[in-house]
Amino acid sequence: MIATAAGAFSGLFGVGGGTVIVPLLILWFGYGEREATGTSLLAIIVIAALAAAAQGSYGNVHVREGVLIGLPAIAGVLAGTALQQRIPERAVAGLFAILLVASAAVLVF
C-alpha cells in the first residue's frame, strides 16, 4: 500500500516518494519518527535508482550536474542525520509537517 502510493506519487510528480512514505510509516504503521525517516531513505535509494536508470536510457540524466549538486548534498545529509539524533522526535515531526505544507503550496501555486 505504502509502496504503491509512494510509487504513484513519484511517477506523477517526480518526487522520490519520501513525503508519502514517512507519514504513512508514522501514522499507519506506528514507526518512530527517526525510524520512519531512515527506512524511507532506504526505499528511496531503490526508487530513485530505478527511475534514474529509466530516465538515463532516454538521455535525460546529466551525470556531471548530478554529481556537482550531489556532493554538497552528501555533506548536508551527514550533518542532517547527526543533527536529527540530537533533537526530539516531535521536532522531526514538526519539521516534516512544515515541509509538507510547503510542498503542497508549491503544487497549488
Partner: protein, 138 residues
C-alpha cells in the same frame, strides 16, 4: 559557470542533503529548482538529474541512519521494490484525470498528513509537559 551559480548550487545541494538527513526525503523539491536555476537544465532534465543526486543523499542517509539504529532494512527494501507498481498505477491515473485535479488532491493529502503529524507531535509534547506547564497558548 558564474561564482554565484557555484555558491547557489553548494547552498541548495547542502540544504537538500540536510533535509534528507532531518526528515527522510530525497531532496528533489530543492534539487530540481537548483538544477534549473543554477545549472540551466530544462525541467525534464532537472527532474531526471535530481534522481541521481537523490541516490547519493538516500544512500549516505540510509547508511548513517542504519548506524544510529533507525533503519528497518526489510521494510525499506519491500517498499522500494514494490514502488514500480505504483508508478504504473500513477501513470494510468495521470492519463485518466486532469493534471490540475491531481496536483490539488495531492496537495490536500499532504496538508492532511501535516495536520496529523503536527497533532501527534503536540499531543506527545503536552503529555510530557502538562505537569509543569499550565500556560494557555492560543
Amino acid at each position: 559557470m558564474e561564482l554565484t551559480d557555484v555558491i547557489g548550487m553548494l547552498v541548495i545541494g547542502f540544504g537538500a542533503g540536510m533535509m534528507g538527513g532531518l526528515v527522510g526525503v530525497g531532496g528533489g523539491i530543492l534539487f530540481v529548482p537548483g538544477l534549473v536555476i543554477f545549472l540551466g537544465l530544462s525541467q525534464l532534465e532537472a527532474l531526471s538529474t535530481s534522481l541521481l543526486a537523490i541516490v547519493f543523499v538516500a544512500s549516505v542517509g540510509a547508511w548513517r541512519q542504519g548506524r544510529y539504529g533507525n533503519l528497518r532494512v526489510r521494510d525499506g527494501l519491500v517498499i522500494g521494490l514494490l514502488s514500480p507498481l505504483g508508478v504504473l498505477a500513477g501513470t494510468v491515473l495521470a492519463n485518466a484525470v486532469s493534471e490540475r485535479a491531481l496536483e490539488l488532491s495531492f496537495a490536500a493529502v499532504q496538508v492532511f498528513f501535516a495536520w496529523s503529524l503536527a497533532r501527534r507531535a503536540l499531543r506527545s509534547g503536552a503529555q510530557r509537559h502538562d505537569a509543569t506547564s499550565a500556560a494557555p497558548n492560543g
